[in-house]
């Protein structure tokens, strides 16, 4: 037997998906996350679906452990070693206040207190020239202090190390040799881009989470070994690929969004298979909705990630998928404020007490309750009947907390419920606009790919509102995050600040590009070989380019043989496509390169990844009243597992399956595709919602 297994430790649940490559069968397991011992949860889930670790050939593991350590501030006693004159870089930051009118505003405090920030005499300038050699006596003095202070982890981050990390490397080697039990990391190990605050903050965070994260990964590995596991353990990175155990221990900060991105990777696999060049992946869960842009099978990486959000968070320069998150999910609570404005979320009823209709003690109406009121989630059909739903209680809460305070008539529950969903959709629609409109993309060109418990329920209405014509619901939308992880490739990202003026120079000067690219590729290939014993099968090479003077860059695909003229043309084309205009005469510069090296990883066969029926089986057709924006309609209700590839039908319709319900509006059409996915075509003729 050869099993590929994905495990995802989330905030509430630990999920396991196993794919048997011989039987081509899928197995799902779910358990409550054991905060006392995260590793236990993984083993519980494996035994739940009767997977013997000895039979697993590849185990891909996603975890929220790193982000939790950072958010809960439960990391190591950490020190920072900086260039003389710059120990306050973590505390000064960029001196900005993202909440301009908050008199009490503070950024989250630095991960390293000032008393543990040490300066060493050394200096390299912006061209990489050494102005002041690294002072080893200074370092020895600092090491004694680190010992006295019982420091567990050290970040070394020097000014201009993005150009030449030699001093950082030298200092790190010295400290590692001198203090072998201390976890040591450097800024340039994580980022070869300029901006000293962001790079130092990244190094500090990595040191802060290093000892615990490293211990955790090691323990998981040991426990697996003991259980007879003979396969390869891979850890999900935030960049959309897996990391080796060794890299995960050296760069745990690269796991910061290890959990939530499995779904995006899965979406990419379907985008490739379905030939969808432009897609928005939309994942709606219990407390939040997330969306990401997938173009030509790949996603964007955020320039900078902020721990806990932009408003107060500390920055990280580690590649993280560009996901926009909004506090709207199935459990989001609808309430009316003192100014009589309706709000939906960000507070969530979560799974405990949960929505009112679950009758587990929740008394505040949620998005799920509104869906139940409208008949969109069938009473008794939630989670295949394992949970019965109380519509009357949902109606009472909705009217008591929202309808009546806003002056609606007693029998207007449908209108109020539709209003709650309209606001929830407006909020989620804004998040989708953020990944498209804000980045200069025309949203109407995109396919909406929806998953998570709530995605299929809201996807069609969101699409209609945004002018999107096509919605795709993959198989197993409720388990899609863990499932998506099965597709994660081995991937190494190299990013460097490299400056080239591509305006005036002769073409042969463009060879300035060839050198750094070759170096970065060699570096990435070596890392793949070291980490995965694998050869790179594909390189993506991109340049960060801009008009001279602009601060923001756009990414342009490049090649080592590109002439300046080709680079300029590629930039102008991309720029014009994105912003509708491009100045052909203005000077253009290149300020950074990124190389992504990808190695093939054993991935499951997409055709086997669904539980769609075979043609010719019985299709049970039921009917119930469902309220759409145009009013209540008698609506066809289907069981997804009855429907074979090729099955077509017209909305209004509801398709139910374990963990998710798909809502299809009047006039819309859908078809079951070859991979078991639902392909929904949105009607343009349908009346606009109220």
């Amino acid at each position: 037997m050869a099993l590929i297994v994905g495990t995802d430790i989330g905030g509430t649940f630990t999920d396991v998906v196993g794919y048997d490559t011989e039987k081509r069968s899928l197995h799902f397991g779910k358990g409550l996350t054991d905060y006392g011992d995260l590793v236990n949860g993984v083993f519980d889930c494996l035994s739940q679906i009767e997977i013997d670790p000895a039979a697993v050939s590849v185990l891909k593991h996603g975890t929220t452990q790193v982000i939790n350590i950072l958010l809960e501030r439960k990391g190591a006693r950490t020190a920072l070693v900086t260039t003389k004159g710059f120990r306050d870089v973590l505390e000064i930051g960029r001196a900005s206040r993202p909440l301009p009118f908050d008199l009490t505003y503070r950024r989250d405090p630095p991960l390293v207190e000032r008393a543990l920030r040490f300066e060493v005499n050394e200096r390299i300038d912006a061209k990489g020239q050494v102005l002041q050699p690294l002072d080893m006596e200074d370092l020895e003095r600092i090491c004694r202090r680190l010992e006295d202070e019982r420091v567990e982890a050290v970040a070394v981050s020097f000014l201009n190390a993005y150009v030449t990390p030699s001093h950082e490397d030298g200092a790190a080697a010295f400290i590692r040799a001198r203090l072998p039990h201390v976890y040591v990391t450097t800024g340039a190990e994580h980022s070869r881009e300029w901006f000293e605050f962001e790079r130092s903050s990244t190094a500090a965070a990595n040191a802060y989470v290093g000892p615990r994260a490293s211990h955790y990964v090691q323990r998981l590995e040991t426990r697996l070994d003991e259980a007879g596991f003979d396969g390869r353990l891979l850890i999900m990175g935030s960049h959309g690929g897996v990391l080796s155990v060794r890299r995960a221990r050296e760069q745990p900060v690269a796991l910061v969004e290890s959990g939530p991105i499995g779904g995006c990777i899965g979406a990419t696999a379907y985008a490739d298979a379905l030939g969808l060049d432009r897609m928005v992946a939309f994942d709606m869960g219990g407390t939040t909705a997330k969306c990401a842009l997938i173009e030509k099978g790949s996603f964007e990486i955020q320039p900078t990630y902020y721990i806990g959000g932009y408003e107060h968070g500390l920055p990280l320069r580690t590649p993280v998928l560009d996901i926009v998150e909004v506090g709207t999910g199935g459990g989001s609570i609808a309430y009316v404020d003192r100014q009589e404005h309706l709000h939906v979320g960000p507070r969530s009823a979560g799974s405990n007490p949960g929505p009112v209709c679950f009758r587990r003690g929740g008394n505040e109406p949620t998005v799920t309750d509104a869906n139940v009121v409208l008949g969109r989630i069938g009473s008794g059909a939630f989670l295949s009947g394992s949970l019965s739903l109380d519509r009357d209680a949902a109606v009472a809460a909705l009217m008591g907390k929202v309808g009546t305070p806003l002056g609606f008539a007693a029998a207007a529950e449908d209108q109020v419920a539709r209003g709650v969903l309209a606001l929830a959709n407006a909020q989620m629609g804004t998040a989708i606009k953020e990944v498209t409109v804000e980045r200069g993309k025309d949203i109407r060109d995109f396919t909406l790919f929806v998953f998570g418990g709530g995605g299929p329920l809201h996807g069609v209405e969101l699409a209609r509102e945004l002018g999107i014509r096509r919605v795709v619901v993959p198989p197993e939308p409720g388990n899609f995050s863990a499932l998506g992880m099965l597709f994660a490739p081995a991937r190494i990202d190299e990013i460097r600040t490299v400056r080239l003026d591509v305006t005036g120079g002769a073409d042969d000067e463009a060879q300035g590009l060839a050198g750094p690219l070759a170096d970065m590729e060699a570096h990435a290939s070596a890392a793949l070989l070291r980490d995965f014993e694998a050869e790179a099968v594909a390189f993506e090479r991109q340049a960060e380019m801009r008009y001279k003077g602009q601060r923001h860059t756009i990414r342009v695909a490049v090649d080592a043989r590109d002439s300046f003229d080709r680079l300029r043309q590629a930039f102008l084309t991309t720029y014009a496509h994105r912003y509708g205009r491009a100045d052909a005469d203005a000077p253009v510069e290149l300020i950074g390169l990124r190389v992504t090296a990808i190695a093939a990883a054993p991935a499951p066969d997409l055709r086997a990844m669904h539980r769609a029926a075979r043609p010719g089986g019985t299709i049970v057709r039921r009917w119930r009243d469902v309220c759409f924006n145009t009013g209540r309609l008698r609506t066809l209700v289907l069981n997804r597992y009855d429907l074979p590839p090729g099955f077509q039908e017209q909305g209004p319709a509801i398709i139910e399956e374990f963990g998710a319900t798909t809502l299809i509006g009047p006039g819309d059409r859908f078809e079951v595709g070859q991979f078991g996915e639902l392909q929904i075509t949105i009607s343009t003729a349908a009346g606009l919602p109220s």
Binding site: I92, D102, Q339, E438, G549, L688
Partner: protein, 561 residues
């Protein structure tokens, strides 16, 4: 509230407002991505908003500088309505104005707006989509137009575009673009920024029109009216909770740069009367000879509204409703209501001190809301010259300093002033890669926060070592009236700039210019914030922590900071 006569249900009204409020934020990000000058992308010296057909502010972007919460958008559109009338502002027209006489802020602040129309009739004018942006240079006697501390009338500060069309019916008026290009030292950068400003206006307009097409103009208007009414009611409720009375406070600036040593008085009265507040600035100094003046809209109204928003309505987007209960009094001829030809290059520089003084007046009745003074200045310093290749370079920075302590906490920061928001410091690595100097240190300034039961936030110290000759221009303020403490808290230590020559000699440069040679150092010190409460009541734990971390180098209760 009754609903019987309203066709629009309250939830749909909220959905409409969500849709409208999202537009300026989306356009805001798009502008940051496409603008050319770092003043836009890093400094965020712009704001995006929607005003109605009569120029009243509907909503404004979250980011951007607080100073634009003031009246920039409404003031410009108001002048446009006076000049053209609604009828001559049609679809596809794009108008700009930076007129000192009506807007009253330095001429770099150029408001651009375009009508949002569903038809040609007056009642089909839904509003205007507006973007105000700091243009890098609009001419005048100094590079950057607004940084000279010595101008004596507005004509030395650049060109004025009073309500002129850049586009008419969607067509570019090329004459105007030629005129702009010939009146700035950085035509490429400015025209690049202008392009992104135009795109922002037109994109925003179309997105608002999408909302209107979907829900109907009347529904949009009704939603806006209700939104204003509720924001107004919320502000009134806060004001009503404050005891009626007349609250006063004073502070002063060092001088106007021309009449050296003559303080610029900031005397403030805030009258709380039921659920209305009057900010009376009649007793501030008269119009100044130097460039620290502002017009009524850009000065008195801007400062009063910012203070009001900080205290009465900090959450949610700025809007006309929230400002309705606030009256602003300032007769013509004061430095915050200067005449149309007065020099206004530094119109923003005084605003943080004015806002802070208004807050100080309210400290007596809002003890738990009002902190001690922040550094209160822009402390603009400019280093320019030519690099080793003979290329012009310019580094402009407004400094970050300490913020004031409050009844329950130490002061924060270092941040820029209350007139700034999400404005980022330029990273040292980026400066060193672009400019011929080294930054030798950028660190906290120990002992600069005012002492108190809660300590003021710390200022900064920075040293630039010149590798090439150049020039330094400074506008350091508030050295004679340092950031005050409250309830017995001490003052923050004021800021200064020193030039250290290669021979070790030093000179202080507060407002002025100096040549620097290779090897000279420019040393910047920024102010700390004021302290709160009796220093003797500071906890031992806090004192020990300050000493351990080196925020304070000696026991503060044993002497002054």
């Amino acid at each position: 509230m009754t609903r019987q006569n309203d066709e629009l249900d309250p939830i749909t009204a909220d959905v409409i407002m969500h849709g409208l409020s999202a537009v300026p934020n989306l356009v805001d990000k798009n502008i940051a991505r496409t603008a050319y000058s770092f003043l836009i992308s890093e400094y965020k010296d712009y704001a995006v908003g929607i005003v109605d057909g009569d120029g009243r502010l509907i909503t404004q972007s979250r980011g951007g500088l607080p100073i634009f919460v003031a009246n920039a958008l409404s003031a410009a559109v108001g002048d446009g309505l006076a000049v053209y009338g609604k009828r001559r502002l049609q679809h596809g027209d794009v108008v700009i104005s930076n007129h000192g006489g009506t807007m009253g802020q330095h001429l770099n602040n150029v408001v651009m707006y375009t009508p949002i129309r569903t038809g040609e009739a007056d009642d089909e004018l839904l509003g205007f989509f507006a973007v105000v942006m700091h243009w890098m240079d609009v001419g005048g006697i100094t590079i950057g137009s607004c940084q000279s501390p010595f101008t004596t009338d507005v004509f030395q500060e650049g060109i004025q575009f009073r309500t002129v069309k850049l586009l008419a019916g969607g067509e570019r008026i090329e004459e105007m673009f030629r005129m702009i290009a010939e009146n700035t030292r950085f035509p490429k950068l400015v025209l690049g920024d202008v392009d992104s400003q135009i795109a922002g206006c037109l994109t925003g307009r179309d997105m608002v029109l999408d909302v209107a097409a979907r829900y109907g103009s009347n529904a949009v208007r009704t939603s806006v009216e209700r939104f204003w009414a509720r924001a107004e009611a919320a502000t009134r409720a806060v004001i009503a909770s404050i005891p009626d009375g007349v609250y006063r406070a004073s502070s002063f600036l060092d001088d106007d740069g021309i009449e050296r040593g003559k303080p610029v008085e900031i005397n403030v009265r805030v009258v709380i009367d039921g659920d209305e507040a009057t900010v009376d600035l009649s007793e501030v100094a008269a119009e100044l000879k130097g460039p620290l003046n502002a017009g009524f809209q850009g000065g008195a109204v801007a400062a009063a509204r910012m203070a009001a928003k900080y205290v009465f309505s900090p959450d949610g987007p700025a809007n006309d409703g929230a400002f309705r209960p606030i009256k602003v009094v300032c007769p013509p001829g004061r430095f915050l209501s200067a005449g149309p030809t007065a020099p206004i290059g530094g119109s923003g520089f005084t605003i943080p001190s004015v806002v802070d003084t208004i807050l100080r007046a309210l400290a007596a009745c809002l003890r738990e809301h009002i902190p001690a003074a922040h550094h209160g200045t822009y402390s603009v310093h400019v280093i320019d010259g030519r690099d080793a290749h003979g290329q012009l370079f310019q580094h402009i920075e407004s400094a970050a300093g300490g913020w004031g302590a409050a009844y329950d906490r130490d002061g924060g920061g270092p941040f820029r002033s209350m007139a700034h928001g999400d404005t980022m410091e330029v990273p040292v690595e980026l400066q060193e890669a672009s400019h011929p100097y080294l930054v030798e240190y950028a660190r906290l300034r120990p002992d600069s926060g005012g002492i108190g039961m809660f300590r003021g936030g710390l200022g900064l110290e920075k040293a630039y070592r010149m590798m090439q000759p150049g020039r330094v221009t400074t506008s350091i303020e508030r050295t004679a009236c340092p950031p005050w403490g409250l309830e017995g808290g001490g003052e923050g230590v004021p800021g200064r700039v020193e030039i250290e020559r290669a021979d070790g000699s030093r000179e202080v440069l507060l407002k002025g210019e100096a040549s620097v040679r290779a090897g000279d150092r420019v040393l910047l010190f920024t102010a700390g914030g004021g302290g709160f409460g009796d220093p003797a009541r500071r906890s031992r734990k806090a004192i020990a922590a300050d000493l351990k971390q080196g925020y304070v180098t000696h026991n503060p209760s044993s002497g002054s900071g």
